[in-house]
């Protein structure tokens, strides 16, 4: 009976396993697949990401020159990053922070012309 006793007593005297999260943030690992970013200077709006995305959360409108991602549907698999021919898609190491409203990641680029100062705009 009470075979667990040595373990719990060890826990009592040893250092606690808890990471005091908000106060003490552990730096993310090198290769973490976090929030999706599109580098507007590189994106050529080819639409490969939209085609390959398993979650179908990216829409690219070539004529209007927009690139939209629904971050709430994104599954962070990184397939789009792997397939992006222009390597404009990257994943940050952090996850997207919680929000109180629906959001989309929206990017307005020049239709058909790249490298023209498109802005990345986020709108709620």
């Amino acid at each position: 009976m009470f075979k667990m006793t040595p373990n719990v007593l060890r826990n009592l005297i040893s250092k606690k396993a808890t990471r005091r999260y908000p106060r003490q943030v552990r730096p993310p690992y090198e290769s973490v697949r976090g929030e999706l970013r599109n580098d507007s200077t590189q994106c050529n709006l080819c639409g490969a990401c939209a085609l390959k995305c398993p979650s179908q959360c990216i829409t690219v409108d070539k004529t209007a020159g927009t690139w939209t991602c629904d971050p709430f549907a994104c599954v962070y698999c990184g397939v789009c990053v792997d397939t992006c021919p222009a390597q404009s898609l990257t994943q940050k190491r952090e996850y997207r922070p919680p929000a109180v409203e629906r959001q989309t990641i929206f990017m307005q680029g020049e239709p058909r012309k790249k490298t023209k100062t498109p802005e990345a705009v986020e709108s709620g």
Partner: protein, 283 residues
């Protein structure tokens, strides 16, 4: 008269405050034994205050009645304890609280609540005789059921009633809802009965049962304290050790079922009590 008032107020006010603190310490200690940091020590008070400020929802208005009844009975028991009244009477009044809690749980038709209530009844069935026997042991040793007389007993009761102290430990474990006896409801709702007995108490009424439980903690630790009533150092050590053992046992054992509880507690408890009582008779 003034002294009486002081006692009443102490029991009524200090009782739950101390009880709440102890259950806060309990949670921290539990967390530490699990290699966690645990909540702040005032956590039980936050919980209770939050619950008091919640919307009132009931399944049946009798739950409100019973929650108040439970609180009234347990606080009364603690007050009587501070008034140095009759131990047996205090046990009876404490049982009233337990019964009210059960009746309130039975007032809901949820099977979880009902099954919890029955398990609580089985728990009462298990620990009630033990508590009475402990008190009987105290009576045999000191010649009185009155706490006043027990306190003036010249030597620590623990020396004469060691087995009965163990028996009290069984009752304490059941009463504090610690593993392996947290059958009817447990502090953490990870069991087959959801929150068992307390499933359908909610909001302020749940807060009342919490506060009632603090009184119960106080009462039971008071009973433990009687076993070393001759000196406050001994008393403190006894209580601290006992409570630590309770938390430790909670953390090193699985929850058992009521059949095992009834069989084990009665077999062990009654045997130990009998041994100790016979020893007292023959001594």
């Amino acid at each position: 008269m003034i002294l009486t008032t002081v006692y009443v107020l102490t029991g009524f006010v200090i009782g739950p405050l101390l009880g709440g603190l102890i259950s806060g310490l309990d949670r921290i200690l539990t967390a530490r034994l699990q290699s966690r940091i645990g909540p702040p020590i005032l956590q039980p008070f936050y919980d209770a205050a939050k619950l008091l400020g919640k919307e009132k929802t009931v399944v049946n208005v009798w739950q409100a009645f019973c929650a108040f009844g439970y609180l009234a009975a347990t606080s009364m028991a603690v007050v009587l304890f501070f008034l140095r009244s009759d131990l047996l009477l205090i046990l009876f009044i404490q049982a009233v609280g337990a019964v009210f809690l059960v009746v309130g749980a039975l007032a809901s038709t949820s099977p979880f609540s009902q099954v919890g209530a029955h398990r609580e009844l089985l728990q009462i069935l298990s620990y009630e005789p033990l508590l009475v026997l402990v008190v009987v042991g105290i009576y045999l040793e000191t010649g009185s059921f009155k706490i006043g007389s027990v306190l003036t007993h010249p030597e620590p009761l623990l020396l004469k009633l060691p087995f009965l102290f163990v028996v009290l430990g069984y009752a304490l474990t059941i009463k504090l809802r610690k593993s392996p006896f947290d059958l009817s409801t447990s502090h953490h709702a990870h069991q087959e009965l959801v929150k068992g007995l307390l499933t359908d108490y909610s909001g302020p009424y749940l807060a009342l049962t919490e506060i009632g439980h603090w009184y119960e903690i106080m009462l039971l630790l008071g009973l433990c304290a009687l076993f070393w009533a001759t000196h406050w150092v001994g008393m403190t050590i006894l209580i601290v050790v006992t409570y630590f053992m309770e938390v430790l046992i909670d953390n090193v054992s699985a929850r058992m079922n009521w059949r095992w509880m009834l069989g084990y507690v009665w077999a062990m408890g009654l045997t130990l009590s009998l041994v100790n009582l016979i020893w007292l008779y023959t001594a």
